[in-house]
Symmetry: C2
């Protein structure tokens, strides 16, 4: 029986897929953080490499992957697609479960898919240093790895909750030569402001973004790199879904359901958008798309579709997205990569049209599924990815109930080798669940900027 569907390096995609070309309604423009007028290319150039800015505004459907990027993608791509035969058997489901596994990259997640091109364009333009934020450390690791490939310096602002929970992640980044700070720091105005209000702040991705942006703006030789949310990031991630399509073709399958975890949404978009293209272009119909979120940070499920800042200090471009409000402070769950108050703009448009449906789970629910996955399929995966598994387990059990042989495709974004303390806490029954109250969310939503309504 075939468990792994191997794709040759010669079958790696030559272009990224840009869903902006196919959205069912026009994407509202990003707005300048101060003027609240539509952002221009020139507004972004001080912060991001020009090659990245171009892609942020790009509207063509296919964007060629530079040769050097494709060469470096070979360090871990094409990533494997697996049939989860042992999990299927354990669940007694007639469903066929396939998972695309991004944990094979040096940084251990899908994040290098965008870190490599971002570092590539920066290096091409003479940039010497990149700054960024990181939650659980997946993105920071990816950027540290990518910067080492191009001889760039990397400075990473790591959310304090994760910095303390995951000391090995910062050592990993240091091994690649990166400088890692526990955010909020005293190094930036944004950090100092938060610390003045709350010296024990756990930090958040929003705060860390503010710090990395201020750092980048303060030096000529430095640009900023973002790990999720932006159009260009989601674009780069589509190599995942493009490969998965070819692999499923080899297996003679097409998904009825595509499931993945969503924080900013880049990993799920990477897998799902090439399949959404089939729906949007009318080539296929009826595929369902489920985006799984943590109960503790349910932007698609309980947020408002509105313009909001991507960061706590209101420095980034104002984005049209599902948001809990940029002052929302998520509980310190282990899935640090899903602790962002908003999801990406393209995903917002798709959710508005009912093309993507959100689901939420608690920490204990997702670790329950992750342990079952480890004991069946073998891989010990990241808490973020455990959200996907939990969604898939429920979908496979629903298929069993309905007696339907559904084909389920899931995104497993990374391994959990730096998350063993979380598994330990789960196995020992020490894992807390968190769910924001209605009033916590409505209070945070009062921080929305004063722009026109999106709905």
């Amino acid at each position: 029986m075939v468990k792994q569907i191997v794709l040759s390096q010669h079958d790696m995609p030559e272009s990224w897929y840009n869903i902006v070309a196919d959205l069912p309604s026009a994407m509202p423009p990003q707005l300048h953080p101060e003027t609240l007028e539509p952002m221009t290319r020139e507004d972004m150039l001080p912060l991001l490499p020009a090659g990245i800015v171009d892609q942020e505004f790009a509207t063509e459907r296919w964007i060629e992957i530079p040769d050097r990027v494709r060469e470096l993608y070979q360090i871990w791509r094409p990533s494997p697609l697996y049939r989860a035969t042992s999990l299927e058997k354990a669940l007694g489901t007639p469903a066929k479960i396939f998972f695309k596994y991004e944990g094979v990259s040096p940084a251990g997640s899908h994040k290098p898919n965008t870190a490599i091109p971002q570092a590539y364009y920066a290096a091409q333009e003479g940039v010497k240093r990149l700054t960024s934020e990181t939650g659980a450390g997946q993105w920071g690791s990816a950027l540290a790895f990518a910067c080492a490939q191009f001889g760039l310096e990397a400075t990473v602002y790591m959310v304090r909750a994760s910095y303390n929970q995951k000391p090995y992640r910062k050592m990993l980044m240091a091994t690649w030569g990166a400088t890692v700070h526990s955010s909020p720091t005293e190094l930036t105005e944004a950090g100092r402001k938060i610390l003045a209000e709350d010296p024990n702040s756990n930090g958040s991705i929003g705060i860390a973004i503010s710090e990395a942006v201020q750092d980048a703006m303060s030096r000529e030789d430095t640009k900023f790199a973002l790990g999720s949310i932006s159009n260009n990031v989601l674009l780069h991630q589509t190599v995942i879904g493009l490969e998965a399509k070819k692999q499923l073709e080899i297996a003679g399958e097409y998904p009825d359901v595509v499931i993945g975890c969503v924080g900013g949404g880049s990993g799920y978009a990477g897998l799902a958008y090439p399949f959404l293209y089939d729906q949007l272009s009318g080539k296929r119909t009826g595929t369902k798309f489920y985006a799984v979120e943590p109960e503790a940070c349910p932007s698609l499920s309980r947020g408002q579709y509105a313009y909001d800042y991507p960061d706590t200090a209101s420095l980034g471009p104002v984005l049209p997205m599902y948001t809990l409000g940029h002052t929302f402070m998520p509980a310190p769950i282990h899935a640090g990569g899903l602790r962002h108050h908003g999801s990406s703009p393209t995903m917002g448009v798709l959710a508005q049209h009912g093309l993507i449906t959100p689901r939420t789970y608690s920490q204990n629910q997702i670790f329950d599924a992750a342990v079952q996955f480890a004991r069946t399929e073998g891989f010990v995966i990241a808490p973020e990815s455990a959200h996907s598994i939990r969604g898939v387990v429920d979908e496979a059990l629903a298929a069993k109930e309905a007696g339907e042989a559904r084909t389920i495709l899931m995104h497993v974004s990374g391994h959990g080798h730096f998350d063993m303390a979380a598994y330990d806490a789960y196995l020992a029954g020490r894992l807390e669940d968190f769910e924001p109250t209605e009033s916590e969310i409505s209070t945070a939503l009062e921080s929305l900027p004063d722009t026109k309504s999106l709905v």
Copy 2:
């Protein structure tokens, strides 16, 4: 440029290669630990599954891999072969460096290559529980993973030095459902004896083997599994080299040098033996084979070729091997998987004939190479594998000096995701080097059993 050479799952080997069929001189028999008479099949059956005992005595060249084992191998096999183009460039060497990367397995090393067949044969024979030892935790993780695949219980005795250095490894094993003890324990006679002499003992692989053997012998439903040294283990590992041969063929290359780290020797044997077959059968000549050891535990380099026990309490079969003496207590280096006083019997014969040449390096030397590897090739690898890298760096620099475009093939046995504290210590300049004195080795060699000489 091609960096990764992908092999299809359809090209996975159908048989393991048994070098016993081709050794340049007969392998001396293993001896019974009490009688010192040659071991029989019947002597081993109480301890090991019959399928494993058969393979331990097998003399045929090719042994078929069961279908179910090949199916489960697909979880991570074929493993990737890479051309280390960035490392080559950094070294400015004309050498071509290829590395076979086993870090993609769920347990993170080459060890599941033998854990899966060992658990398979045990389950087939109705065994309910396997016990074993582990050093750095690589082997224990592999066994825990494999036992979960077959619904077997796993109990792992983990060398205390590593148990304390690597808490995440024991959580990993627990996630797969295994029970992990810090060895020496109070649970076995062997453990109690050591603790009575030295309550602060760091443990050793030799002690942990003794404990796991006594545990297995005390229960009807339990057998023992060994992670290295034995013929059957080295046999299973040859999938590595058999795949690498096909991958190099695709690249149009054949190695001038094959380099790997050696503790018991199973990982290096796995890569090297299929190439040694070409030498032994006269198909090829002139390939060099370098086995890299830690200075702290130099069995091939400074040990004696003699009969010795594989474990501290003298419970295992007496083996013909290069040994430092079974009472030798290696310093607590981070490469816990290389802390064994002896290397495998087949490797002993090959080293005697000059077919394998040992080299040694200190901890700081190998981490220096590992950091260079991480910053060029991207992967953060295990301290064990860092020995291979250091050997390759020196070989590549020698090729540069000689102006020769040598083709170097290396074994990278696993990732270093659970070894970040070691990287941290290295980067902070806190890493100690250890080298046993002549008198420490000669004292330990006094513990050799009273058998006939091998040389």
